[in-house]
């Protein structure tokens, strides 16, 4: 019986070492949406497409996020790295390997939009589902711009 118990314990320790890396991975999927849609999205000043857009980002970095849309004010925010609770699994189960591996892979972090005094920046809403981060940005109309017409594609 003792041997079985020891084997289970050993297997758990091996399996649960690098908890966060195994459970979350070193990258995180981020989906960016906007109201209205079709805003141009720039991450670290690199254009990645128009909303809604998805990007798989490394967890151990911080990113600048900028949305631009004609007639609307440019929206700037940051994706910050926060603590990933799966990392505690290493401490709880004594996974010394995980304590070292998770910071190296970046899995000890998770990405979140920047907080101002504990709440998301005005215009940002977000939620996380199965580790995937969904961000929605509400863009404000640029008071300096006025729509004077629209070009229509000829058929």
């Amino acid at each position: 019986m003792k041997i079985i118990l020891k084997s289970i314990l050993l297997t758990s320790v091996i399996l649960l070492s690098s908890c966060a890396t195994i459970i979350s991975g070193s990258r995180q999927n981020v989906e960016i949406n906007s109201e209205p849609s079709s805003a141009k999205v720039y991450i670290n000043e690199i254009e990645i497409g128009n909303t809604p857009v998805q990007q798989n980002l490394k967890r151990n970095q911080e990113y600048s996020l900028v949305l631009k849309l004609d007639g609307y004010e440019t929206y700037e925010t940051k994706l910050e790295r926060k603590f990933n609770a799966w990392y505690i699994g290493n401490i709880a189960f004594g996974g010394l390997i995980g304590i070292i591996i998770d910071p190296i892979t970046g899995a000890m972090h998770k990405l979140k939009p920047e907080d101002i005094n504990g709440s998301p920046k005005s215009g940002t809403t977000y939620n996380t589902e199965n580790g995937k981060l969904f961000i929605k940005i509400s863009m404000d109309i640029d008071s300096n711009s006025e729509k004077i017409g629209q070009l229509k594609k000829s058929e």
């Binding site: 991450i43 670290n44 000043e45 690199i46 990645i48 990007q55 980002l57 490394k58 151990n60 970095q61 600048s64 900028v66 700037e76 603590f83 401490i91 004594g94 010394l96 304590i99 070292i100 998770d102 910071p103 190296i104 892979t105 970046g106 000890m108």
Partner: protein, 130 residues
């Protein structure tokens, strides 16, 4: 057991605090801050500097020993942010050590310059998302 707990705690603290590379800066001639809309050119070793530029200062990125966020693209992004803060619109890599047996990080020596011309016309490094 107490020692083990202390060790785990120490490693956790190191893990939390030491993931960023060590940045040392020597800003000899800071200029007015640049906005996000103003372009900053990233020049790698092989890219040439234009004429009539003003040196703003130097940056040095080193491995803190526990750095993980130290890819070339990440360091260049951080250098660009430092450049904007100090009014420089050219980031020029003057020395580059690639990851090797001793360090998993890029180690860079960078010079920051202010250029009055159009920086987007310069041949430059195109930043990528890792």
């Amino acid at each position: 057991m107490k020692q083990m707990t202390k060790m785990l705690l120490l490693i956790t603290v190191i893990g939390f605090t030491s993931c960023s590379p060590k940045i040392s800066s020597n800003l000899t001639n800071p200029q007015p801050k640049l906005s996000i809309d103003e372009k900053v050119a990233l020049l790698d070793i092989e890219h040439k500097l234009p004429e009539s530029i003003v040196k703003v200062g130097d940056l040095r990125f080193q491995d803190s020993g526990f750095s993980t966020d130290c890819s070339f693209n990440s360091l260049m992004t951080q250098a660009r942010n430092e450049a904007r803060k100090n009014g420089a619109n050219i980031v020029k890599v003057v020395d580059k050590k690639k990851p090797d047996l001793w360090s998993s990080c890029y180690r860079l020596k960078i010079e920051l310059y202010k250029y009055d011309g159009d920086v987007s016309s310069l041949t430059q490094y195109k930043l990528k998302l890792d």
